[in-house]
């Protein structure tokens, strides 16, 4: 550690490296690190230490087919660098076909921004209309499995209570946000915004409205440089330049 006055966030950086902060705190530290040379320099050291803890566990032989499954899912990279962000604009719900649950269904060309697939949760995702309600986690898992294709990156977003309320599935030039448990917003005077978190300021990837029930899949702009995502609830109907109230976040 340095002998000069330490950054006031240095204690929080430990929690961040441990992935042990509450979502809002994690996001705040993520923002801070992007602009703090001291924390940017210190984070890899913490990560290296913690990785050493992980490596101190006696090695174990993974399942024999895990290697092949990973290689099978490794689609050729589609980009080697950040892309410009499409303009953000509100999206409108449509309904996901009842049989749109196959994991490997061909991916149709999508607009970068503008498509929302509202999923009648248990019906579309699990084919279990009327069945007992799943916990948010497994509902979310199944919804993610329904929309993800091999090679997609998946990030779970947790609310302040630590509940998994949404997930980001990124790949093929789009970011799809699976919303499982966000409170419905008043669509006349508020809107949710998905933010990509990387270096610099958070980037708004699109706006959406959360319904009172059911799982939604919202297709928004891609952010190839994102190391995390956050959802904020904003007054008005447009994305501001910075998030005002973050309700969920997670790392890539």
């Amino acid at each position: 550690m340095r002998t000069t006055t330490p950054c006031p966030m240095s204690r929080e950086l430990v929690g961040f490296a441990l992935h042990a902060l509450e979502p809002a705190d994690e996001l705040a530290v993520q923002h801070h690190v992007a602009g703090c040379a001291e924390c940017t320099a210190a984070l890899p050291d913490y990560q290296s230490l913690l990785a050493a803890l992980g490596r101190a566990i006696p090695e174990a032989r993974p399942p024999a087919d895990l290697r092949a499954r990973i290689l099978d899912r490794a689609a050729p990279p589609t980009t080697a660098g950040p892309r410009p962000h499409p303009p953000v604009r509100p999206v409108r719900p449509t309904v996901l076909p009842r049989h749109g649950v196959a994991r490997r269904r061909p991916r149709r060309p999508r607009r970068l921004v503008g498509t929302v697939l509202a999923v009648a949760c248990a019906i579309a995702v699990g084919g279990l209309a009327g069945a007992a309600v799943d916990r948010t986690g497994s509902t979310l898992d199944r919804a993610v499995a329904a929309v993800a294709t091999p090679g997609d990156a998946r990030s779970t977003l947790h609310d302040e209570a630590g509940t998994a309320v949404a997930a980001v599935v990124a790949g093929d030039g789009t970011t799809r946000l699976v919303v499982a448990a966000l409170p419905a917003n008043d669509a006349t005077n508020s809107v949710y915004v998905l933010w990509g978190i990387g270096s610099g300021q958070p980037r708004p990837l699109g706006t959406f409205d959360a319904r009172s029930a059911g799982t939604q899949v919202v297709t928004l702009a891609a952010d190839p440089g994102a190391v995390g995502y956050a959802v904020s609830l904003e007054p008005g109907r447009a994305a501001p330049t910075t998030p005002s109230r973050v309700v969920a976040s997670g790392q890539v």
Partner: protein, 193 residues
Amino acid sequence: MSAGPGPLTEEDLLDALAAGDRSALAGLYDRYGRQAWALARRICADDAHAEDAVQEAFLAVWRGAARFDATRGRVGTWVMTLVHHKAVDLVRREEGVRRRTTTLDEQQPLPAAPGADGAALASVTAAAVRRALAALPEEQRHALSLAYFGGYTQREVASLTDSPLGTVKSRMFAGLARLRTALGPVLAEGDLR
């Protein structure tokens, strides 16, 4: 790179990954897969979830290799960080698969000999890590173990240990600082993998 069991240096590996060379991904898995699997299984205590965590982590490396800044850390650290975070996310998502609270120092024997891949250096490093952990004050070791291996947030650790949140943060901060002091020289060599 002076160390590395494979024929490729880290830079070579990253370049090949960024270029979409799947054999590089295979090489990365061969190099880190066993460690990744051990960590994921420790955190998840469930093989299916551990597989998901390892799979997602390696695919994240595959997709992100072109953007990885090698000046800010090593590939192995990146892999293990991703595995850890993915595994923690999975156990937090699944309350039914509640995290194990095992600690590295209390329940796992030291590896008696280098692993099957002959990674003697790794074994030495692992032993040093265990000694350093064992030397921590109990409350620091417990707090770090609950967070890292149990996947608990600091707030949850505070509740589990009946301690103020600020105290938990301070314990983790102090514990990592001590580990850093104890392991810095070891990791300077041992982390070159």
